[in-house]
């Protein structure tokens, strides 16, 4: 039973490779994780939990709090952790737009799922999700248009300016990005350049517009590419925005141990989210997720939203 819930927005500031480890007959040798039923990019909750646990461990290797929050490192059967992380879902995805560099694309389905999770985390939002006919899109910023069309990559869509979308964009800008000045540009861009696509059009971009990188091995002798070692890796593009639900229960402990000084769910979540003696707050903090860390992949900035008791 989880008593406390928060939404953590995950803002990608570099390409992110949360890999599947299996790919047979795909387009890309090394694909990212995707939902089975929508093909939208996702991040397994276990990977998110592992990344955040590692981040806390790296900040304070001696802390006994790690096992109390996340569960025992080795003997997992002793007791459960007090924290739970949902699979990361997409909130907005960057798509190339000649008029603005890129736009943040979202869809009714993405926004409906976000709103649903926010409600479960006791965060009511007053924005409404605009209705959308297929083949049309909604925008906020008229400067995105060229001859009354919106060009995304090589495709033209018919845009309509919708004030209802402005509410969504401003809420996202205020909540999904850190409050610091260094993010001011991106907050403004998100508030202006959020574009609502139909679910099928968004599907096209999230499947076909990820970052695909060829990797080769260089032959030590010749200094040229070793032809047999070519493979293609897929990444979530920088500026993608996802969210995960963080849930906390009261602290668990091994049967037979003393129940004294155990933390309740509020203490657990506060310990995770706020700064402590030996670590910095998760709010606005950059955490490394997924593979290829040593080549700059996986840098994600976290923003925490929500609160309230059952």
């Amino acid at each position: 039973m989880f008593q406390e819930t928060r939404i953590a927005f995950l803002y990608c500031v570099s390409p992110v490779h949360m890999g599947t480890g299996t790919a047979v007959g795909g387009l890309i040798d090394n694909p990212i994780q995707r939902e089975r039923h929508t093909e939208y990019p996702m991040m397994a909750g276990s990977g998110i939990k592992g990344a955040i646990r590692h981040d806390y461990w790296a900040q304070d290797k001696s802390s006994k709090l790690l096992n109390r929050l996340f569960g025992p490192e080795n003997d997992a059967s002793e007791h459960a952790g007090a924290l739970s992380f949902s699979d990361g879902q997409l909130a907005a995805f960057p798509v190339r737009c000649p008029k603005a560099g890129y736009v943040y694309a979202t869809s009714p389905l993405l926004l409906a799922r976000l709103k649903r999770q926010l409600a479960l985390a006791k965060t009511q939002v007053d924005w409404v999700i605009p209705n959308l006919e297929s083949g049309k899109c909604r925008i906020i910023n008229p400067d995105l248009m060229t001859d009354s069309k919106l060009a995304l990559e090589a495709y033209e869509l018919e845009p309509q300016i919708d004030p209802a979308l402005k509410q969504v964009a401003e809420w996202l800008a205020a909540n999904a990005l850190p409050e610091s000045d260094d993010f001011a540009y991106f907050r403004k861009k998100l508030a202006d350049d959020l574009v609502l696509l139909s679910d099928d059009e968004l599907h096209y971009f999230v499947v076909n517009s990820t970052v695909v990188e060829p990797h080769v091995r260089i032959d030590d002798i010749s200094g040229t590419a070793d032809g047999g070692a070519l493979f293609y890796t897929e990444n979530l593009p920088p500026e993608s925005i996802l969210f995960t639900v963080i849930m906390a229960s009261q602290e668990r402990y091994r049967r037979g141990d003393s129940a004294e000084n155990r933390m309740d769910a509020t203490q657990i979540i506060n310990t995770l989210v706020n700064d402590g003696e030996n670590w910095q707050a998760l709010q606005g903090r950059m955490v490394q997720f997924g593979g290829d860390a040593s080549t700059g992949r996986g840098q994600i900035v976290c923003s925490i939203v929500g609160g309230g008791h059952e």
Partner: protein, 119 residues
């Protein structure tokens, strides 16, 4: 369920037929083709292959173009020259161009997989 083969089975059958006897260069080209299309777009990729003017570039181009022609005309064994397909793609609406890109990528899943078997 229909007793007819699915579209994906048709793509597979077509891909299997086309990769027979193709060179090692063709296999490598096919492996990188989805990445090229995803990064640069379908028309740019087709034009790039045409410009390269080597047998394996022309072969892959032809396999893609003929499949697209068959897919859009609902006919089998269609052969369409590069210029004609480009003419069609240049004038088509965004939705159809997107469909052509998706269909090409769906075909390439099979081509890149099957071509590797033959090496």
């Amino acid at each position: 369920m229909s007793k007819l083969p699915s579209l994906d089975q048709k793509r597979a059958a077509y891909a299997w037929q086309q990769v027979q006897g193709q060179s090692d260069d063709y296999t490598k080209l096919a492996k990188g083709a989805p990445a090229l299309i995803m990064s640069n777009g379908l028309m740019q990729t087709l034009a790039f292959y045409q410009d390269k003017n080597k047998p394996h570039h022309h072969a892959l181009n032809k396999h893609i173009i003929d499949w697209l022609a068959a897919y859009f005309t609902h006919q089998e064994n269609v052969s369409v020259p590069f210029d004609k397909m480009m003419g069609v793609l240049l004038k088509t609406d965004s939705q159809k161009y997107r469909k052509a890109t998706e269909e090409t990528l769906a075909l390439l899943r099979w081509i890149r997989q099957f071509a590797a078997i033959n090496q």
